[in-house]
Amino acid sequence: MSTKRRDELLIDHNHDGIDRRGFLTCMAWAGTGALCVMQGGVLKSFALSGMSGSMPAGELSFVQISDSHMGFNKAANPDVVGTLQAAIDKINALPAAPEFMLHTGDITHLSKPEEFDTVDQILKGATAKDVFFVPGEHDVLNDDGQQYLERHGKNVKGGGWYSFDKKGVHFIGLVNVLNLKAGGLGTLGPEQLLWIEADVKHLKHSTPIVVFAHIPLWSVYPEWGWGTEDGAQALATLKKFGSVTVLNGHIHQTMQKVEGNVTFHTAASTAFPQPQPGTADSPGPMKVPAEQLKTLLGITDVNYVRGRHALAVVDSSLA
């Protein structure tokens, strides 16, 4: 890939706070798909539509899907089964089968057993057999997540957090949708924060870290609850690592941001889009013409190349 492409975006977010203009620029790529590669604190983003070659090869590639909201049947998308299936078809059509999938929550819309079952059935059709989940707030309704844990909580700690290693990359799945307080944002809680500290204590600083959780760990738009109260504390624990990638869902649109060694990324929903921050009265489902819907839904492909500074994150729409 040439480093001087005409459609290359260079976004340097290497300072504190949110570079709103920066991430809005990134959002402009949503729907058409974007490849973002972080090098030395600078995010390089390429429009997928302008890429002619194949995707970068690496030691590890996996796919993130999010917010399938099984059971949702309102005007914004009356066929969430069809669009989740389209996402799986897209994954199955990748040149090489990804090692595994991450589902970053809101698997279901109303935490109903049949909704969980339907998603399980559809995911079985994917070439990537292993799926690692974290819950969204829609998966823990009425029972504080008991059913979710029974289904997807094998080998987890506390409210469902866990970690695992794949080809030298350390993955940390976090839960920030339980015990939410009035007026507040997503919450990890002191028990989970202590666990993260212990979990990464013995890792080498050169180990690439991937953190995944439902609600963004960074403050995307607190006015709509798009952030995590104690997310910064979790990230402070990971400061010593050279490469940290944070993958979230919840906001039903893709966004990226870089702060120091941390790359933040949110995935599109497979079910329905939500408005860009502050552009509507509320973050409710966005109704778009049927022919446009699939351009706003999608999957995220993540590629890890050993020796590179960061992971390459590629979004593609279902269209």
């Binding site: 109303l110 309704l141 009425n142 009035a182 709509w224 009265d281 409710g284 489902p285």
Partner: protein, 111 residues
């Protein structure tokens, strides 16, 4: 626990006795419905008399809950057009929120 339940029952009974005659005096009954629209409770603040039943209706395409901050009441998840009702038997201020979208807050003042 049992004692507080008994207390509530007694107060409900008292509330009925007190509010009954007032209604006969032709006063307009206070609003007792809260609509959940666009990720907000409307009205966000509601003042009612002791013994009033307040009904919440979810008008959004997204499910919400109605949960008392002080754990006095808690709805199941409300899908579109589903409702939750609670009878306020004791005077006081009852802050509440949506436990799924905690930025959504409201308050019922019972006099």
């Amino acid at each position: 626990m049992k004692r507080s339940v008994a207390m509530v029952i007694v107060l409900v009974a008292l509330g009925l006795v007190v509010t009954g005659p007032r209604a006969d005096m032709g006063e307009a009954p206070p609003a007792t419905e809260v609509r959940i629209d666009n990720f907000s409770f409307g009205p966000a603040e509601l003042t009612v008399r002791v013994g009033t039943t307040v009904k919440w209706t979810n008008r959004d395409d997204i499910p919400h809950t109605v949960v008392s901050t002080d754990k006095v009441f808690k709805s199941k998840v409300l899908d579109t057009d589903e409702t939750f009702s609670f009878t306020f038997s004791v005077a006081g201020t009852y802050p509440y929120f949506c436990s799924i979208h905690p930025k959504m807050t409201g308050q019922v003042v019972v006099q």
